[in-house]
């Protein structure tokens, strides 16, 4: 198949395949490690620092058929100023919307540093011809999206056609050019840790800037175990190519405690380089509210009711 271009690094498809087929994971050992990291006790200053980091790493998301201009305006306002009563709380990283709402989101973020991410490639199923995926993505980019979240072709993946999965991501990356590409593996469909690792490596080799756990549309969303498999893949890919890719966890992360456990894992397994919205994100709709409540509680000792915080 000849050389393929991977983020400025040339790599044979056979090398990618070799890595993919050498995906060995012991689930008992993996669970043990992940559970052991979850026992870290994060208190006081380190907790406040974590909560603020989580805010800056949030992709505030709404992906519903009922989304309107009004809803997007509310969400963007909250993204820019999550807590108007406490200006020390930073803005979130991005808002995440469907392609048809990118223009309006872009208009609302104005000159804040909140980015606009669009889900494309026929999110969440991806079950359309490639031409449609390309069009969907091109439309989002033309509308001004800063970041694109695509889904992998799970049909091809589960049928064992890894080359097709790879080729599609390469083609979509081609459309994206410098626009940040996040590739959603949909770990709830892949089920096994080996599959998650294979899909991670294929997506990374195809030029994804980020790999992302889930669409948030399945009952099984992100898990710390899936994130662990992905982060190990990212590290192995880095040691092979020198390229640092990012990770986005999304789907089912609802409270600050859970989010802090993800941060601990990133901190201890990947190191401080990844404690950065450029390389780690949370996709969430309700997580932010709990984080804001926890920040308030740390600062004042009072756990306030939801109505003290503006809705997004």
């Amino acid at each position: 198949m000849g050389n393929i271009k991977i983020s400025d690094v040339s790599m044979q498809w056979s090398n990618v395949l070799e890595m993919v087929y050498e995906s060995r994971i012991d689930s008992v050992g993996l669970n043990e490690r992940v559970n052991s990291l979850a026992t870290r006790s994060i208190k006081k200053d380190s907790k406040l620092e974590a909560l603020n980091m989580i805010v800056t790493m949030c992709d505030l998301t709404t992906l519903e058929g009922e989304d309107t201009e009004g809803k997007i305006s509310q969400m963007v306002a909250k993204a820019i100023k999550p807590n108007p009563l406490d200006t020390s709380v930073p803005s979130v990283a991005a808002v995440c919307v469907y392609p048809s709402l990118v223009t309006i989101a872009k208009e609302k973020v104005q000159n804040s540093n909140v980015k606009v991410a669009a889900v494309s490639s026929y999110f969440p199923s991806g079950q359309v011809p490639m031409e449609s995926k390309l069009l969907d993505t091109k439309y989002a980019i033309d509308s001004g999206a800063d970041e694109i979240d695509i889904v992998i072709n799970r049909k091809a993946f589960l049928e064992g056609d890894y080359r097709k999965v790879y080729d599609e991501i390469v083609a979509l990356k081609e459309v994206c050019q410098d626009v940040h590409l996040k590739t959603i593996l949909e770990v709830g469909d892949l089920k096994t840790y080996e599959n998650i690792r294979k899909a991670s490596l294929i997506s990374l080799a195809a030029g994804s800037d980020f790999i992302k756990t889930s669409t948030g549309k399945l009952s099984i969303g992100s898990s710390r175990q899936a994130c662990y498999v992905m982060l190990k893949s990212v590290l192995d890919f880095e040691s092979l190519t020198g390229v640092k890719a990012g990770i986005k966890v999304a789907g089912g992360i609802r409270d600050a405690k859970d989010a802090i456990r993800y941060l601990v894992m990133i901190n201890e397994e990947m190191g401080s380089d990844w404690l950065n919205p450029e390389l780690f994100r949370f996709g969430a709709s309700s997580l932010l509210d709990d984080v804001l409540k926890q920040i308030k509680k740390l600062k004042t000792g009072a756990y306030q009711a939801g109505y003290y915080f503006p809705r997004g």
Binding site: R24, I25, G29, S41, I42, S46
Partner: protein, 479 residues
């Protein structure tokens, strides 16, 4: 990019009240030592004095053995069901007071609270529950009634898992109808003395459990006492040999659980990331103060560089420090003496030509500490590859074929445990079959369960603890 440091998260020591001075526990009473002598017990993480405990002499041992003998008359005549109920009660009381025990264990021994809380104490309770269940089923387990308890059992235990080793010793001894005189290690006597309170709380008949503290001389008095019917010892091979010598020619039962230098064999087709975790757990668990620690890493040459790189990176994230901090992974070395031994062996390893990697973590000022250490470029003839270091020091050797791996693994005077890492099931069975080790873990390490027998071959000792086999260590054929 943020350098995110975790704030201190200290388990409060207030839950346990440490007395200024302790007494022995003999015949159901807390009694001053007739020796009138005491030894200090300090916290190895601060070097502060925690308390004083008796340095028991011959008179103290005489009275404890006498009371155990009297206790045996009562205990052995109870119905098995009654003995079972006492053991269940002890198990439940330990669970109720587990936080107190865990804090005391970490203070006196230096192990991280994470381990005393999540490993030692749950295991202690589990052992009492397990053997409580056996107590009234002994007749069913060996189609014979000819097995009888020894009588008075002398038990001498080490400092690495003070309360857990007590549980491994006392639970099966009591379940089989014996009574005990137990001596905890010189540097870690406090949880055993707190356990005496549990015996009192449980209303255990006087003399069934006697706890006497002291040093090596006290242990020797127990071993050489004429009314002792069996000795159970866990500790160094050197002392084990002395004990076996003393007992030669006497009608006294003996089980020994001694040293180890376990091989942790990693094949190229292992799940590498999980193998790295297992190797870390195998050697750095409890500061490496584990007789079955995976202290010799056997790496297939084809993955050596990749594996060592991952291992060193992982080691850098180990947090060394205050044992009471909930985020501490590695606590204090148990004593100055042990620290000196580790230091001297490591120095010797460097002089021999081993390549030493140590993590860059900051160490506290006072107390006894040793950085997690990894030796590469080690030849099987070096002392670091042969002698038990009993500290956070891993020695790496390489092999080319499974045959060679087994040969190197068995090339040691010890035979306590071993680990095999491969995703290929047939290779696990092939390897495990050929290893001279009492325990072989596959794709995991340092896993314990009261139902699983533990013990060694060769100079790692004899006899088994745990499981149905563990009961046999406390029963003998009646004449």
């Amino acid at each position: 990019m943020v350098d995110w440091q975790y704030s201190e998260s200290i388990e409060s020591p207030d839950i346990v009240s440490i007395k200024k001075k302790y007494t022995n526990y003999i015949g159901g009473k807390f009694v001053e030592p007739k020796s009138k002598k005491y030894i200090n017990t300090i916290s190895p993480s601060t070097e502060e004095l925690l308390s004083k405990v008796p340095l028991s002499n011959e008179q103290d041992i005489n009275s404890s053995v006498k009371s155990a003998k009297e206790g045996f008359e009562v205990w052995s005549k109870l119905t098995p069901n009654q003995r079972s109920r006492y053991l269940f009660k002890i198990a439940r009381l330990i669970q109720e007071r587990s936080r107190e025990f865990a804090v005391l264990e970490s203070l006196d021994g230096g192990k991280p609270i994470k381990e005393s809380r999540d490993f030692d104490l749950p295991q202690v309770a589990a052992n009492f529950f397990y053997f409580a269940g056996w107590a009234d089923k002994l007749d069913l387990s060996w189609a014979t009634k000819s097995l009888k308890p020894y009588g008075v059992v002398g038990q001498i235990i080490p400092w690495n898992f003070p309360l857990l080793m007590l549980a491994w010793k006392i639970a099966p001894a009591l379940a089989t109808g014996n009574t005990v005189v137990l001596k905890p290690a010189e540097t870690t006597p406090l949880t055993a003395l707190l356990f005496a309170e549990i015996c009192e709380q449980a209303g255990l008949p006087p003399g069934v459990v006697n706890i006497v503290t002291g040093d090596g001389s006290t242990g020797s008095l127990i071993v050489n006492h004429k009314d002792i019917n069996k000795i159970a010892f866990t500790g160094s091979t050197q002392v084990g040999k002395l004990i076996q010598n003393s007992l030669a020619g006497r009608d006294v039962g003996l089980t020994l659980e001694l040293g180890g230098k376990a091989a942790n064999i990693v094949y190229e087709d292992a799940a590498i990331d999980q193998a790295v975790e297992g190797v870390v757990n195998g050697i750095f668990f409890n500061q490496g103060h584990v007789c079955c620690a995976g202290s010799r890493l056997l790496l297939q040459e084809s993955i050596h560089d990749q594996f060592v790189k991952k291992l060193e990176k992982r080691m850098q994230s180990l947090r060394v420090g205050n044992p009471l901090d909930k985020n501490t992974d590695i606590g204090a070395i148990n004593s100055k003496e042990q620290l000196d031994k580790i230091t001297s062996l490591v120095n010797e390893g460097v002089e021999d030509g081993g390549e030493l990697f140590q993590t860059q973590c900051e160490l506290p000022g006072n107390g006894f500490w040793f950085r997690p250490s990894l030796f590469t470029n080690v030849q099987p003839s070096y002392s670091i590859a042969r002698e038990e270091i009993f500290g956070p020091v891993l020695t790496t050797l390489t092999f080319r074929t499974p045959e060679e791996a087994v040969e190197i693994a068995n090339n040691t005077e010890y035979g306590l445990s071993a680990g095999v890492w491969t995703e290929k099931g047939s290779k696990i069975l092939w390897t495990a079959d050929r290893l001279d080790a009492g325990v072989v873990w596959a794709n995991t390490f340092n896993k314990f369960d009261p139902s699983s027998p533990f013990g060694g071959y060769k100079e790692s000792g004899f006899g088994r603890e745990g499981g149905r086999h563990g009961l046999l260590s406390y029963l003998k054929a009646s004449s």
